[in-house]
Amino acid sequence: MTADDFRNQLLESGVLVDAGSPGLYHRSADYESVIRGLESYVRTGARDDNPQRLFFAPVINLETLIGSGYVGSFPNLIGTIDSFDGDMKKLGEFRGRFDAGGDWFELMSHTDVALCSAACHSIYPLYKGATLPSDGLYFDVQANCFRHEPSLDPARQQSFRMHEFVYLGNPEDALAFRDRWIVKGRQLLGDLGLDLDLVPANDPFFGRGAQMMAEGQLEKELKFEVTAPISSETPGSISSGNYHEDHFGVTFSMSTHDGRVAHSACFAFGLDRITLALHYAHGLKLEEWPNEVRERLALS
């Protein structure tokens, strides 16, 4: 089945509803029940860490987005937010131009908020300048994320949910956390009957320097992706484990208890991609999914 065929099936069955832009969908109650089931299911992998749970809004502070490094590395994927901020005189001009079908966008102003690119970005500014406890900090976070990559492939949505487990603290513990989660995450996803692979990966860096960043990431094995067929037989990433080294520690001046620059790592579950991969593997009707999968996701 091609991604086009799968998209048509999802739309015809009402699992997804076209929301008017490529890669933007409304979702059915059944689809959402899988998302909710996954949220609880993947948390079983974090029991020993007793992480702090936080739910981030889809809109974040602009400084948080800048601090993430996304503006420099992926300007093509981010979303900033404009609004009208003018006086009555400018409002008249705005209305005139809007009514006449003119370019009203250029009369808008930048705001100090932006769309969230990745869930874990909102954690680090909370600890700016902090000295972290000797055991480090563990988080379980979720966010609605945005990536500007319009596509008709349902696997590539512009607005999607990310559930991440994050460690912030000692360099050696950050790498161990990431590696532990790669094993746990793969096990959890494999138990849902998905055909998985684990591959070293690089982020889709943009512009000059992209090749250098990608080479560095691959050579040092900073990023691994768990892949599965999502909307066609070609596997795509449904989860990733990332070791950020001191990237956020330097940006937000965070130190370990013994005075070193803090390191961080995360394991991210792409909830929408996993949900699609489950539909691809087990069919569009939840009642026809294998019993053990339904039980693990608490689909009654």
Partner: protein, 91 residues
């Protein structure tokens, strides 16, 4: 008046975030082993372009181009910049 090597070391000092002083390491020392990250190497690349007023061609935008002072000098010379006569500084 500064020569090319002085500017390279100034740029590494300002943008390389190395774990040892760029003034104390040898020309052939592997900068990545001295703590140069990929992120920092991109900043070093941009700062060198600012300092020398010339862009690295795509073929040189690789990690290996920035792995030592020797490698950086070789790349800059291959771009037609003289190793001896240069006025300017790290920006």
């Amino acid at each position: 008046m500064k020569n090319m090597d002085e500017v390279i070391r100034e740029v590494l000092d300002a943008h390389g975030r190395l774990n040892s002083s760029p003034y104390s390491i040898s020309d052939d020392a592997n900068l990545y082993e001295h703590g140069l990250t990929s992120h920092a190497s991109v900043n070093v690349m941009l700062a060198l372009e600012n300092s020398f007023g010339k862009e690295f061609p795509d073929s040189l935008l690789r990690k290996s181009t920035f792995q030592s002072v020797d490698a950086i000098r070789e790349a800059l010379v291959s771009m037609g910049i003289s190793a001896d006569e240069f006025v300017g500084g790290a920006k």
